[in-house]
């Protein structure tokens, strides 16, 4: 039960007001540190679904599709510039953030191994293109998209997304050009 424990600790730390306020004061940290860490906390907690006693998701999420759909919708919602803005100004959206993203991570863990390789490829490429689009949007936008964050912060976030996108492309390249024969045999 090590992983779920870590998950709860991470979630608890993220909720702590000084840490929460600091991460939310920079657009880059808000979107690329706080949000992913919230997903990670849920993913770690999701380890408990591997215990046979919790059978609920086994029945309702047999092929992993429902879970992955929820994951995609929740993460796409949090990529709307508006969601980021409102999380800072409206308290119930802030609460929703701390509930929905760990849940998304939780579902991801249960679903990722269940969906087929083709589905995994689709999801991965979907995020690759989405991150690329976000990079372009935030770097190139001549106007301030979020009311609570300045244009310079927006640009920094755009470069952050670009780095992630490049990382994902490199990952694909190495996956394509390395020999997976051994893994396949095993």
């Amino acid at each position: 039960m090590k992983q779920p424990g870590f998950g709860v600790i991470i979630l608890g730390l993220l909720i702590l007001p000084p840490i929460k306020d600091y991460l939310e004061s920079y657009m880059l940290l808000h979107m690329l540190v706080q949000l992913p860490l919230l997903i990670l906390s849920g993913w770690l907690i999701g380890k408990i679904t591997e215990h046979k006693s919790i059978n609920f998701l086994g029945i309702w999420n047999t092929n992993g599709v429902p879970g992955i759909i929820l994951f995609v919708f929740i993460t796409m919602y949090w990529m709307l510039p508006r969601a980021l803005d409102e999380a800072v100004t409206i308290s119930y959206i802030e609460i929703f953030k701390f509930v929905s993203l760990p849940l998304a991570g939780f579902f991801l863990r249960d679903s990722w191994e269940k969906i087929q390789a083709l589905g995994r490829g689709f999801i991965f490429l979907n995020y690759l293109s989405m991150f690329g689009l976000m990079a372009w949007l935030y770097i190139d936008s001549p106007i301030q998209i979020c009311n609570n964050y300045l244009e310079t912060q927006q640009k920094a976030l755009g470069w952050g997304f670009l780095i992630i996108t490049i990382g994902m492309v490199l990952y694909i390249l190495q996956a394509v050009f390395t020999d997976h024969a051994e893994e396949a045999e095993a």
Binding site: I59, W60, N61, T62, N63, V65, P66, G67, I69, L70, V72, F73, I74, M76, Y77, L80, P81, R82, A83, D85, E86, T89, Q144, I145, C146, N147, N148, L150, E151
Partner: protein
Amino acid sequence: MKRNWRNLTAAVLSVVLGCVLFYFGTDGFRAFTAESARTYKLLQNQPEFPNVTLEDSKGRVYPFSDFEGKYVMLTFIYTACSDICPKIETNLAEVYKQIPSKYLDKDIVFLSISFDPDRDDPATLEKYRSYFGSDGDTWRMARITKEEELNGLLNEFGVTVIPDGEGGFTHNAAFYLVGKDGSLKEVMDFTKISEAASSVTALLENEAEVVLK
């Protein structure tokens, strides 16, 4: 088979839930940024313009209710602003020029409200006004000296003002049109000059016709 049935239901439910989330999160797919959401909400609610006390570039002090019975075309600015405010004011000057002069003063007043009352005293506003061809009467520039009145107004209209750390502010910008009854009628894109001018002129002409009948 039983298992698959549950799984399918869950999948359909997930899609429905996701769509509901996006529907409510974007006001029915209308507003994807907080700024568009703000404009949409303002137009839905048409809030009453709070009766703030203005001090204009000529040093005159009067309540906003003095404009009752006239349209007020207004913007929020501060004179030390170097990027967006001059752009807003240049564009507002274009709109001002395009409005038939017979309506000015009688039916419509232009107003630039400064949200930096510390620096924008009447003398500063008087100088700033001259850069944009405002006459100080049919197009006034004014500050709101009472802090709670200013904050209340900015809050009600959702004007977000963030200090940029270099002595300036950044804020979301638009043209606002307040109706003769004192409630907000329109929020217009400040970059679309002729669009704004023609919709304001159309409103004024419509009203003139109604009066004639």
